[in-house]
Amino acid sequence: MSSLSASDSTPTPTPGGTEVPVAGPEDGANPTAPHVGEPAQPPATAAAPPPVVSVQNVSITYRTTFEAAPTLKNTIVRLGRGERKVKVVDAVKNMSFDIKPGTSVGIIGANGAGKSTLMRAIAGVLPPSQGRIEVRGRISALLALGVGFNPNLTGRENVILGGLAAGLTRAEVKERADEVADFAEIGDFMDMPMRTYSSGMYQRLAFSVSVHMDPDILLVDEALSAGDASFKVKATAKMAELMESARAMFLVSHSLGSIREMCNEVLWIHKGELIMQGSPRRAIRAYTNFLKVGENAYTFEDL
């Protein structure tokens, strides 16, 4: 842990399992792959700005039991039978990468690949089990479940709470609540309890909150899937606008079309391992090859 440069990280992305038919020999041709220059980078840092996000040999494990809800009763029953079923899930395995300022990163991979886990770790919600993550700048996270919304509070109260939890001051938050409402276009519902919202309204508000918190780094995890088409267009435009001022953006999406459109670098994660970090074109091609479906209309359907 003392050496900060991720020295054990593999210099070229190697396929994690034998079933992954991907090799990355053309890495050197790609200017957006910082992985290649790993040994050469430290001398160059004098001029180059430090990475916005640096993930160094990070592993994250979940420990879960099979019990539906952990209760004292179950524990006693379990003790009596002398069994203890704990399943350890290695959600992220020894992952290392750096993200340079100004990068908009797309993250692709199958369900359960560890994308959300990685997002939570970068947001600081889930500390790594091993390794180290350095993040420069203020994060605004829009994870899959929406920001921490309480359905019994009004939209406005939730926005204020979210802002305060994100570390803004009360004055900043109050000022922003109206902008958030305008962008989300939910009108009078802003002052209604959120249990009265439709799921689309819910997501509009969640997205709107995230982008109005002055994020240096925006994390979006499959969050645009429920909005309607017009809001999706608006959200895409807003993200593009943010990219001009934000230092980095992470977009998790199964819509390869959105990734290609919005990102200039892609991480492909498979079963907790980083298979490839590279240009969207290359990574998407490799990913779709791996999926053996080719780049057909199905995978580009805007989800």
């Binding site: 004292l72 770790a121 091993q130 180290r132 993550i133 420069r136 920001v147 230092r247």
Partner: protein, 285 residues
């Protein structure tokens, strides 16, 4: 008032996330974060109170009515057991201790639910989780406040003494708040691991009430248990509070000491337990 640390250079803020050493996050940065986000705890509690409709007149009335009715129940109970109706003095005694006890039990029940009820907030936001039990205690405290005038009304009806010593009761109120934060943190943690904790709580609270000087005075403790009494934190906390507020008696030094030790012990122990487990909350919700 604005937090200096947040405003210095948000762009160059460097966050480092590493595995927690020995289960505990680094205390310095954690405390600074806690302080910087204190507004969140306040607003969280405030919004919760608003959502529970306690802003309305009837809401406020219910907050007062509920513990007052409970005090009346115990008044009847005590009168029957002692076979003499005690009049307003007995009622004043019971309300004095019971209202404070109600604050403690409220902190525990609210605190126990603060993390498991925090669901999405915990999954999606990065903030010191200790703010949640803090907010729970703040909520319980603001439910306690409206009962204070009720007590004074009964105090007047009972023809109670008015003395400058009564002001010292606020010291014990402060210590109780500190104690409650610790208890809320402990039960919040336990609730994450054992979701049925909240179903045991009512029994625990009830037993604790009978063991505490609410229905009896601190100096009335049975002789053979007199020395063991300090082992109950509420013996010194509620006992001294009642002595000062109701009777204007300044408690013995050992009561001051016991109350302070319990408050600090609960606060430090509870916070550390909570913080050492905090990382797992996200994974276990």
């Amino acid at each position: 008032m604005a937090s200096v640390t947040e405003n210095t250079s948000p762009v160059d803020e460097l966050h480092i996330y590493e595995p927690h050493r020995a289960g505990l996050p680094k205390l310095g940065p954690y405390t600074r974060q806690l302080w910087a986000r204190r507004e969140f705890a306040a607003e969280f509690s405030r919004a919760g109170i608003r959502a529970a409709n306690t802003q309305t007149l009837f809401g406020q009335l219910w907050l007062v009515l509920n513990p007052t009715l409970l005090a009346l129940v115990y008044y009847v109970l005590v009168s029957v057991i002692r076979q003499s109706a005690g009049g307003f003095e007995t009622l004043a005694h019971i309300t004095c201790g019971l209202f404070l006890f109600y604050f403690v039990s409220g902190s525990i029940t609210q605190g126990a639910q603060s993390v498991t009820g925090g669901g999405k907030l915990i999954m999606n936001m990065n903030f010191p989780r200790l703010l949640l039990p803090f907010a729970a205690v703040r909520t319980a405290f603001f439910r306690f406040l409206p009962t204070v005038p009720v007590y004074f009304l009964i105090h007047i009806l009972a023809g109670g003494v008015w003395s400058p010593q009564m002001l010292l009761a606020s010291v014990f109120l402060g210590l109780t708040v500190i104690f409650c934060i610790g208890m809320a943190a402990i039960f919040a943690t336990v609730q994450v691991y054992f979701r049925d904790t909240s179903s045991f709580l009512p029994y625990l609270v009830r037993i604790w009430l009978y063991l505490s000087p609410v229905l009896w005075f601190a100096d009335e403790a049975p002789e053979q248990f007199q020395d063991l009494m300090v082992l109950n934190p509420l013996y010194s906390l509620i006992g001294s509070w009642t002595d000062l507020l109701l009777r204007g008696i300044i408690p013995e030094p050992k009561m001051w000491l016991a109350a302070s030790i319990w408050a600090v012990l609960a606060f430090v122990g509870g916070s550390l337990l909570f913080m050492s487990r905090e990382r797992e909350f996200t994974v276990r919700l």
